[in-house]
């Protein structure tokens, strides 16, 4: 790949630290679900994949990025501040009554495309956006980031059929395959099995990558526009809680907050970039 990954690696550490501090103020948020998709978001926003415009969250030519796993929508906020969509001070007011940024994405927040939090809507919304772009001859694309647990929702697959039937190659779904839902491991609770194969059988151009590897993510996104009319899905194999050892793959940390000692440990660990 031509895109140098050094700046992206630095972004990984920056975003994890920013998210952790954002959550530690009010002791609110979903840290592990956000941490598993850090590299996905950084690749989209800073890896030259998605089109966005500094200070212009509503630019008509922007790509529409929708975090369908809305509980982790907070992961976009530091990025939006960086892109000048709102003042950085808003990150310090996360979930506060006087603040702009809530725990779940609200469409009134600059940069947030639509309300999210209830699972299973992202593929349909993305398909609607992508279909409208095709009808209007516009070049923007729709990206939807799903959780793997979200793939239990039937509407995901209903809309997957629609997107393939209508050849929406301007729609990209990333499944954050972090292996956990609230109550435990997906494969133990109700096996999702071969997700790549399932999407492929629905008519999608399906790839499976290491979701913490910039070279692999960049290569996967480079398939956009080369899918022979198929929508693209990237199964990003990730670790829930990536970067804080005691949160990694520990389902009980879904929305738990660390105590003082754990906070110190987490901060120390976040000084060492888990991605290299």
């Amino acid at each position: 790949m031509d895109t140098p990954t050094e700046p992206l690696l630095a972004r990984s550490q920056w975003l994890r630290k920013a998210l952790f501090e954002m959550a530690m103020g009010p002791k609110k948020g979903h840290i592990p679900s956000s941490f598993s998709m850090v590299e996905i978001l950084v690749t989209l926003y800073f890896g030259g994949v998605a089109r966005h415009f500094q200070g212009e969250p509503d630019h008509p030519d922007r790509d529409r990025i929708f975090v369908s796993k809305g509980h982790a929508g907070m992961a976009q906020y530091p990025i939006f501040a960086e892109l000048g969509y709102f003042p950085r001070e808003e990150l310090d007011r996360f979930t506060q009554p006087e603040g702009l940024l809530g725990m779940y994405p609200d469409f009134r927040v600059p940069g947030i495309e639509g309300v999210s939090g209830s699972l299973g809507h992202g593929v349909g919304i993305g398909a609607g956006i992508a279909h409208a772009a095709k009808l209007d001859g516009k070049s923007h694309r729709a990206f939807a980031i799903l959780g793997d647990g979200e793939c239990y929702e039937g509407s995901v697959w209903e809309s997957a059929l629609f997107a393939a039937h209508h050849c929406l190659d301007n729609l990209v779904v990333v499944v954050d395959r972090n292996q956990l839902c609230i109550m435990g491991k997906t494969e133990e609770l109700l096996a999702l099995g071969d997700l790549r194969g399932k999407w492929e059988s629905f008519g999608w151009h399906a790839l499976s990558v290491d979701g913490h590897s910039y070279p692999e993510l960049l290569e996967a996104f480079s398939h956009i526009g080369r899918t022979h009319g198929k929508p693209l899905v990237i199964i990003a194999n990730t670790v829930k809680g990536k970067g804080i050892s005691f949160m990694e793959l520990a389902h009980l940390w879904h929305n738990r907050m660390p105590n003082k000692a754990q906070m110190a440990q987490a901060r120390a660990e976040l000084e060492r970039n888990p991605i290299s």
Binding site: S118, G124, G128, I129, S155, E158, F162
Partner: protein, 314 residues
């Protein structure tokens, strides 16, 4: 005299006329047809979508299209456009106030022989609970056409409830002037009135004709916009009456009569109201819609009995 048109054909013909001029109008049907829809499919294929028998996905896709500025009409059988995709409607259309028209066909007991899964006896209660949802129920071709024009010209989040059956004209060209009021006096009476909507406007008119022979002058009020209810216009329409009957093809809990009682109570209007509607149970029995009306106590005979009883108290 020409047969009365089906409401769905009237609505879709109105849509088609507008859609020919405006490529931004999109019609999505979850596998529910209409004669008039065949024209859209053939003539305007870029403005028609079939999302499969998948109402939940249909709402999600419609939301995405609307977020990009498309004017979207979602069309399905009444039970499936209301309850089946309620969460999608709530989480996306309501929260973002997307200007989408939801079209449900066969409300009430329209799908009589299909029985319980197809009965739509709670759509008013559930849709009424959603903030910002406008709810309209036409009773003839004319009111359907005017509501379609309104939905096209003034996009908003709206649920329009179409009957499965055709009904003869009620308004004779006068509906447009009542549209903004949300309520219309179909026939003025003396002391006693029935407040209803949709198919039951016709049953109320039948009752009125029969009772006239008995010296009872029953008023008939069509409360075709249950939400947002125009309290001022409703109170004005009901002012001449000391007793009211509400007649609905809905479960009584949270339905049409409930909405009117809330309005009267909130506005401090004290008036005796008898509610006729489906009691709180699902029952199915072979038989047509009239037969089911008897089963549920909302038949023409039941209406006459309630009116005679009320007339004694006027």
């Amino acid at each position: 005299m020409a047969a009365s048109p089906l409401m769905r054909d009237v609505f879709i013909e109105t849509f088609t006329e507008a859609a020919r001029r405006n490529p931004n109008l999109i019609f999505i049907s979850a596998d529910f047809g209409a004669k008039a829809l065949d024209v859209v499919r053939e003539e305007l294929p870029r403005q028609f979508l079939h999302p499969g028998i998948a109402e939940q996905s249909m709402v999600d896709i419609g939301a995405g299209l609307a977020m990009e500025g498309k004017q979207v009409f979602l069309y399905a059988m009444g039970p499936f456009i209301s309850a089946r995709c309620y969460e999608q409607i709530k989480s996306l259309l309501v929260t973002m106030n997307l200007p989408i028209t939801l079209l449900g066909v066969g409300v009430g007991l329209g799908y009589d022989h299909a029985t319980m899964t197809h009965f739509v006896l709670e759509d008013l209660a559930c849709m009424r609970a959603l903030p910002g949802m406008e709810i309209l129920t036409p009773c003839d071709g004319e009111s359907t056409r005017e509501m379609a024009r309104f939905a096209i010209e003034d996009p908003a989040l709206r649920y329009i409830r179409l009957d499965r059956q055709p009904f003869p004209s009620v308004y004779g060209g006068r509906f447009a002037e009542s549209l903004q009021n949300g309520v219309a006096t179909v026939a003025a009476g003396e002391g006693l009135a029935i407040v209803t909507s949709g198919n039951f406007v016709h049953q109320a008119m039948q009752a009125r004709e029969i009772l006239r022979q008995e010296g009872i002058d029953l008023g008939v009020i069509d409360l075709f916009r249950i939400k947002p209810m125009n309290h001022k216009a409703v109170l004005e329409s009901l002012a001449p009456y000391s007793r009211l009957i509400t007649l609905e093809e809905q479960c009584l809990d949270g339905g049409f009569g409930s909405a009117l009682l809330e309005c009267l109570s909130d506005q401090g209007r004290s008036v005796a109201v008898k509610r006729l509607g489906v009691p709180g149970l699902y029952r199915a029995q072979n038989g047509n819609r009239a037969h089911l009306h008897q089963l549920y106590g909302i038949s023409l005979d039941d209406t006459l009995c309630a009116a005679r009883e009320a007339a004694k108290q006027v």
